[in-house]
Symmetry: D2
């Protein structure tokens, strides 16, 4: 498991004084890219795999308790599973031991095709992500 | 059904040249607040109901085709259902006839309680949202 | 002069209930890209000029009156001047006749060079932007 | 001087692969709120001073070198000066020793008045910000 830390700021919050929910998806995405860094990072991995991005095809989240300015948020990232052409990422957002949100994303390897963008085989990406001795593990 | 229009701009897109997915949740939320306007708008409705916000407890979306700079996005908003303390909103994002994304949110009426924020009864909100003759319908 | 319209939404506002100021820069940028559309749009113009972007080198804004959820904002865009390698864009944000903000950006034509990115001659861009009979004028 | 660290992520970048400039203003604002924390934080300070926010009246920035996914950005924050009713904040964004941007904001203490929001005397805020022994100094 990998953890990404982000402190909540005033500008992330809405007139109700709590985090505007799309920001939690923004941080899930940032946690994903942070998770990729010890394996080379998004740019390098995509270049190695001939892809233009490791993009989301679906995302969901449940908001369990409000986040506010100053909260130190730790997002736990893990690979929750995979199919032929997609990877399931799971996220848990915590402030200390308090659960703020839980979420997941289905991600695919976007490659250029005759029809524009399509999803490529996920196995080569899984191989990279399971390589031993990444600095963060 | 209510439709909210938003033109995609350069700054909404990521290095792959397509919309960064949290922005689609941002637009779903904007479509929801736009949907509320003919019924008085979020500030007035919350004041009438003694609530501090009509906030999301859960959100999900499936991204069906990429959005790019200049695309004119129409988001169709509808009430998809309700429970005692929550409202299900459904969204469909279209560029002309092309489906860009589908999503939904569970929203609750946040009220102050002894335990901080909690969800109040949704019936009074439904009553407002089903009032006849709203200008947008 | 070109005008770009954007309705302010709840999620654009901060805990003080008024627009979080970086969003006004986001809308200035969206107004700029909207201004480019009748001349072919950013992607096409950059391709024609061999550039990778028409990016900001400097930006400033003065916030004259607060913007809130539901305000219909009209941003007036104009070319305020130019130098050899930069273009000055000026912006005025209005809600009806009320001035919400004023701002400007210096933009350059970013081209790849031996040193990474550098600014190219602005004359070819000015020629495109002064072409007669653009649909928006 | 106070330093705020933020790692640049994929989603902060635009189709040119570099940071979308409004995000630098978002980080300047986050750096400001981070700077306030050892003095009690924005909510507490505003409550003590009877204000509804310490908001920006003007902001500007010069973008000196591009920021990309993975860059570890350190923003140096300082009080650059003050007038009767405003505070000048200055910012320097660095990746290691490389200068990415420089900026400043004029901030005022927003108080409710008969005319809506107006700027209050800045002296009480300066007193708080110059209090000795703040944990961060």
């Amino acid at each position: 498991m990998h953890t990404y830390r982000q402190q909540v700021s005033f500008g992330d919050c809405d007139p109700a004084g709590i985090v505007f929910y799309p920001n939690m998806f923004r941080w899930m995405d940032a946690a994903f890219h942070n998770y990729l860094r010890p394996f080379g990072g998004h740019v390098q991995i995509c270049q190695d795999l001939g892809a233009i991005g490791i993009g989301a095809m679906r995302a969901n989240a449940s908001f369990r308790s409000p986040l506010r300015d100053g909260d130190v948020l730790d997002i736990e990232v893990s690979v929750g599973g995979s199919r032929n052409k997609s990877l399931e990422m799971t996220y848990k957002g915590l402030v200390g031991e308090r659960l703020a949100f839980e979420g997941s994303e289905s991600r695919a390897l976007f490659v250029r095709s005759e029809r524009g963008l399509s999803a490529g085989a996920i196995a080569p990406l899984l191989e990279i992500l399971s390589s031993a001795d990444s600095p963060s593990e």
